[in-house]
């Protein structure tokens, strides 16, 4: 019986020749990553010193800190938190990345997503590093262990294998594919396990599109997601990766908890209905619902393809008067690419409000909704209060549907707009 990629990575970082699901190991994460957030990093820094007498981490290159929430700051207290992070980084020789974008994306750009590496963070959306064959797990408060100890105790998870087949239709994106997986398999299909995803439709996707799916793995109950890295992923990382290690791959006869195959050929744009990420429906079921706010961004969506798709929908049109469309590219690198390709101009001309990269629009710190307002969003989550008032509603849709809804002020199917744009500019 062969091994999964997750088992192989955990064996490597535990100094074992092999590891099986269920084994409890002492694993040394290759990278320990966090963004500064009150209650997490400030507490970890304090506990390291006060509880454990640790003045400095032993191997600073294994750590990385991001400042991506509360950017830009709105209060002096927020700037105090950031300054505490900067000075801890300086004291420890640990890099602090600031104003480069959302950390989960920037961590990939900077090469922390080395194929075959094991990464821990407190936040589960780090799972998107799995796009590059990196096992990246959000461990919440257990992250303290990785700051205090060289090795963390870790139980090797089982893996669920999902193969995606078929072909995506116009106006349907990997964002729809992820929520369709939740609809098909349920919100606990991968509970406590690794979601290993592949198949011809994934291979046909860009890395950006895969990052979207892997980012959201937690809503299947998974502790992370991973792809066996193909040439596309390996080539992207070749110039960037921080470690000189061999990529790892699941064996053909690896032992999976379950295997599923999902054909996406007939998939239509979906909407995830508030207030739970488990509520995937066809967008057509809620089309026409009045919405006042649109958010295109986040660590899940908001990359170049998403921005370009929204620009195609908005081509030659204006968003509805009074509608608030926030477009927040996932990183500065992405923003620069979108600018150089003229995508940002097209969005600005349509009436979008564009900001430099930040996490703040995703959790209601910026662009907060008042009671009774409704949003279409590519943010990570649609639970109550996520984007402002607990009495506002969030419908998760793909980037094209955010743009189409911004035109109409109602939840709208993007496909007619894309078809019209295609007719205008034959490709």
């Amino acid at each position: 019986m062969g091994f999964t990629i997750a088992e192989k990575i955990l064996a490597r970082v535990s100094g074992k020749t092999e590891a099986r699901a269920g084994d409890e190991l002492l694993a040394k994460p290759d990278f320990v990553i966090a963004y500064d957030f009150p209650g997490y990093t400030d507490v970890i820094f304090r506990q390291m010193e006060e509880e454990f007498g640790i003045e400095k981490v032993a191997e600073p290159d294994r750590y990385a800190l991001f400042i991506d929430h509360m950017v830009p700051t709105a209060t002096a207290a927020e700037e105090d938190l950031h300054e505490g992070t900067r000075s801890w980084g300086k004291k420890n020789n640990v890099p602090v990345y600031e104003r480069k974008g959302i950390g989960h994306q920037v961590a990939a750009e900077l090469g922390y997503a080395t194929p075959g590496a094991f990464v821990v963070h407190f936040d589960g959306h780090i799972s998107q590093l799995g796009t590059f064959g990196t096992l990246a797990i959000g461990v919440r408060r257990h992250l303290l262990e990785a700051f205090v100890k060289e090795r963390i105790k870790f139980q090797v998870p089982e893996t669920v294998r999902i193969d995606i087949t078929g072909e995506l239709q116009m106006g349907v994106t990997s964002r729809d594919v992820f929520h369709h997986i939740v609809r098909e398999l349920g919100p606990r299909a991968c509970r406590g396990m690794v979601m290993e995803i592949g198949g011809p439709a994934i291979e046909a996707m860009s890395l950006e599109a895969r990052q979207t799916i892997n980012c959201l793995a937690m809503f299947t109950g998974a502790i992370t997601a991973i792809n066996n890295p193909d040439e596309k992923a390996l080539a992207y990382m070749r110039e960037r990766q921080k470690l000189d290690i061999e990529p790892l791959f699941s064996d053909p006869d690896a032992n999976y908890h379950a295997r599923h195959e999902i054909d996406i050929t007939n998939l239509e744009p979906v909407a995830v209905i508030p207030p739970s990420p488990a509520n995937t429906r066809d967008l057509s079921e809620v089309a026409g619902t009045e919405v006042q706010v649109g958010y295109l961004g986040s660590c899940a969506s908001g990359r170049v393809e998403d921005l370009a798709l929204a620009a195609d929908v908005l081509e030659g049109r204006r968003i509805k008067d009074g509608f608030q469309l926030y477009v927040i590219p996932t990183s500065q690198e992405i923003m620069e690419e979108a600018a150089s390709k003229g995508i940002l101009n097209r969005l600005i001309n349509a009436g979008a409000f564009i900001s430099s990269s930040s996490c703040d629009y995703c959790f209601g710190r910026m662009g907060a909704m008042r009671e009774g307002q409704k949003a279409v969003s590519t943010g990570t989550l649609n639970v109550r209060g996520r984007m402002g008032s607990p009495d506002s509603d969030i419908y998760i849709v793909n980037a094209a549907a955010v743009a189409a809804s911004a035109i109409e002020g109602k939840i709208a199917d993007p496909r007619p707009y894309l078809a019209a744009a295609k007719e205008k500019v034959p490709s």
């Binding site: 409890e24 509880e51 589960g124 919440r140 205090v148 100890k149 606990r188 406590g192 109950g221 739970s276």
Partner: protein
């Protein structure tokens, strides 16, 4: 060290699968930090006298994938302040599970618990025997064993104690 058995009444049964724990205090209260304030808010929307009825050691019962969504810590800070001794569920969402185990708050996987207990039944979790006993009904169900590190973390009262307990170990 051994883990102390849990014994108390079933203070609440969360019948919903994929239950979002933020609802325990209500999303509008999720940024409150004061444990006393949170304790008063627990389940208040469903049972205004909940805080008065709970006794130290009482337990909560949950359905499948308890803690799904984007779980925050305040609801269970409130529950612990009331004296709730732990949560017994059909199964748990892994993020919620890790978060609460790190706080030293016992979580017990017990397949079949929904339907096997009623509110205010007296129940007991016997870690060593690997069973949950419904002392009111005179029935019992097997519980799933904890991983070694989860067990140690609960014994140590949370992640800080757990890491202190490991101070002697080789790197």
């Amino acid at each position: 060290m051994t883990l102390a058995n849990l014994r108390g009444r079933v203070a609440w049964i969360f019948e919903d699968e994929d239950f979002d724990v933020d609802q325990i205090v209500g999303v509008k209260n999720i940024k409150i930090k004061d444990p006393d304030e949170l304790a008063k808010l627990c389940m208040a929307a469903d049972d205004p006298d909940f805080a008065e009825k709970v006794q130290p050691g009482d337990l909560l019962v949950g359905n499948h994938n308890f803690g799904y969504g984007h779980p925050h810590y305040p609801p269970m800070i409130g529950m612990r302040k009331l004296g709730i001794g732990g949560v017994i569920g059909e199964s748990f969402s892994p993020g919620y599970w890790r978060g609460e185990i790190a706080m030293g708050f016992p979580q017990v996987i017990c397949p079949g618990i929904i339907g096997a207990v009623s509110r205010w039944d007296e129940i007991e979790v016997d870690w060593a025997a690997g069973v949950l006993r419904n002392l009111t009904a005179g029935t019992e169900l097997p519980i799933e064993p904890l991983s070694e590190s989860d067990k140690q973390m609960l014994e140590a009262g949370g992640i800080v104690g757990y890491l202190h307990a490991r101070e002697g170990e080789e790197a």
